[in-house]
């Protein structure tokens, strides 16, 4: 049996009234708890304190805020690259191994995926604290002679975010690699291609949609990430999400916070639309177990 794609209508069609009735609760939920709040927030950003784009001009004019935008972009790029370098070999190992080993690796990758982000962030706080294991190791190896500050730095944020977002990179790449028939690799080998050439000219091009999907997913999630920078980062080196929180909760500057949300949301939406072809949400969310 060939399996039809997601969202491929089949069976006897429902009447329009029936469809409307069945979908109504969904649209009411999304309209009430997503679309309306988000649109009224965005409208706040262009109407207060006076109509116009003054809040947005303020973001770009003030070097402090502009630096936060650049830092956020830089951290998101760094996290995406690191996650890709770690995820690709692991995804390959998941595909090529079989039996207990395959289950073992998959469990390794999936367990953190479904364990609390807060727990994982707390674990990094423990590892990186002044008398933590990482500091102990650095001294044993002889890189440092006394404990150094690792927590509340940009490095801590990058390492912990890479760890937290890694499964989002592994799963799409794994999905792409799994769909490559093993004949291709064998055929290339028979034709005389060495392992490196087979990797570069067969595996990588065929896995590219998964790689692109994973990179974009991790990049976009990292851009708006809040928990890890809020708990492990330095207040002097904010990312956009922590800046939004500060403006909203400490300075009570709602219109400015709304403008920051606007910048983030528009940027993320634009990238998603550009890459909408490689984004196979169904594959990423549906078939991961």
């Amino acid at each position: 049996m060939t399996r039809p794609g997601f969202f491929q209508p089949n069976g006897r069609q429902l009447s329009s009234a029936g469809i409307l009735l069945l979908m109504a609760p969904f649209f009411m939920l999304i309209g009430f708890a997503f679309l309306y709040p988000l649109l009224s927030l965005l409208s706040l950003s262009v109407t207060e304190p006076e109509p116009g784009l003054s809040n947005y001009v303020r973001i770009l004019d003030n070097p402090l805020y502009f630096k936060v935008l650049l830092r956020t972009l830089w951290i998101a790029v760094l996290v995406s690259v690191l996650a890709l370098l770690m995820a690709f070999p692991v995804a390959m190992a998941m595909v090529s191994s079989s039996g207990p080993m395959a289950v073992f690796i998959t469990a390794f990758v999936l367990l953190p995926f479904w364990s609390s982000v807060l727990v994982r962030t707390a674990a990094w706080a423990v590892l990186l604290q002044r008398n933590g294991i990482v500091n102990d190791l650095l001294q044993v190896v002889g890189i440092t002679s006394e404990p150094i500050r690792l927590l509340y730095t940009q490095g801590a944020v990058v390492v912990a975010m890479t760890h937290v977002l890694l499964p989002f990179m592994v799963l799409p790449i794994y999905g792409a690699l799994r769909n490559i028939p093993s004949d291709y690799d064998r055929a290339a080998a028979i034709c005389g291609a060495g392992p490196l050439r087979r990797f570069a000219e067969v595996t990588v091009p065929l896995a590219l949609p998964g790689v692109l999907g994973g990179v974009i997913l991790v990049f976009l999630t990292a851009l708006g990430y809040f928990i890890t920078p809020a708990l492990l980062g330095s207040p002097k080196e904010m990312m956009i999400a922590t800046l939004i929180s500060q403006q909203l909760r400490e300075f009570l500057d709602w219109p400015f916070a709304a403008a920051l949300v606007g910048v983030l949301t528009l940027f993320v939406t634009a990238i998603t639309l550009v890459f909408s072809k490689v984004f196979r949400f169904d594959r990423m969310l549906g078939g991961q177990l």
């Binding site: 727990v119 707390a122 423990v126 392992p195």
Partner: protein, 267 residues
């Protein structure tokens, strides 16, 4: 094995250690005696679990989160299954809109939704109410449920439903007696994912929480930020246990669904 393969293997193991190390490090600390976090743990005690279960603030937050997660799971399973069924039976243009609205909450960062709801709920008085949280978490969890249910609906033979209707069953009866039992494992597994997503959800919880009504993630956030006691590893042990259990349950449900549709007559 050639040197290149050995090197590659070593690299994969190093990454796997990186993935698992933080969890391996934090879990044993739940049984450590001192009231600060050290590794390796010192002594052995179940005291931190007692501390968690005996503290009314932690218990209240846990109950609050459980209630929200349960209601989110029920809401998304029912609303999601209804909409997905309509979609798979020819929703036409409304279906395109549906898919757009389904993807939007995944694309829009959680911080954006959290801030939007923070302001909206302040105006409507829904802040730190169970209803408000359930609405917010349902928006986030809905895509997971819809994709899980759609996967099942697309592999159920639609002629079974046709046959039931030809024999005189109403559309509703055909769905209730034929299709629903076949996709039920996936509906439940989608509901389980929604439960976990809601129960673990930290960002919206952070912004919507009032001073008195805190969810478990919000309480954990405050504890990590302020003092970081072994109560966090103790909760980590409990949460990881629940996650593993739910993950296995969901996998078994899907497996049951797969073998059931596979053994249907035209298999």
């Amino acid at each position: 094995m050639n040197p290149r393969a050995i090197l590659l293997n070593a690299y994969v193991y190093a990454v796997l250690i990186f993935i698992l190390a933080p969890i391996v490090v934090i879990l044993p600390m739940a049984f450590s005696e001192p009231d600060y976090l050290t590794f390796p743990p010192e002594g052995f005690t179940f005291g931190w679990f007692g501390e968690f279960f005996g503290n009314s603030r932690w218990m209240k937050a846990t109950g609050f989160s459980l209630k929200i997660a349960l209601l989110t799971a029920v809401t998304t399973s029912v609303v999601g299954t209804m909409a997905t069924y309509a979609l798979m039976r020819g929703a036409g243009r409304l279906g395109t809109l549906f898919q757009g609205m389904l993807i939007a909450p995944i694309v829009v960062p959680h911080i954006a939704l959290a801030v939007a709801l923070y302001l909206f709920f302040k105006q409507t008085g829904l802040s730190s109410t169970v209803f408000g949280y359930v609405l917010a978490h349902s928006v986030i969890a809905m895509p997971f449920v819809v994709f899980t249910v759609a996967a099942a609906l697309s592999s159920v033979d639609p002629t079974l439903e046709d046959a039931a209707m030809s024999c005189g069953a109403s559309r509703f009866d055909a769905f209730r007696l034929v299709t629903l039992p076949l996709v039920l494992p996936n509906v439940l597994s989608g509901g389980l994912f929604a439960f976990i997503l809601s129960f673990d959800e930290p960002v919206i919880s952070f912004f919507l929480a009032g001073i008195r009504d805190k969810t478990l993630p919000r309480m954990m956030f405050d504890d990590i930020e302020q003092n970081l006691t072994p109560i966090i590893p103790a909760i980590a042990v409990l949460l990881t246990g629940i996650s593993v259990f739910v993950l296995l349950a969901a996998a078994l449900l899907r497996h049951a669904a797969a073998s059931r549709t596979a053994s249907s007559p035209d298999g």
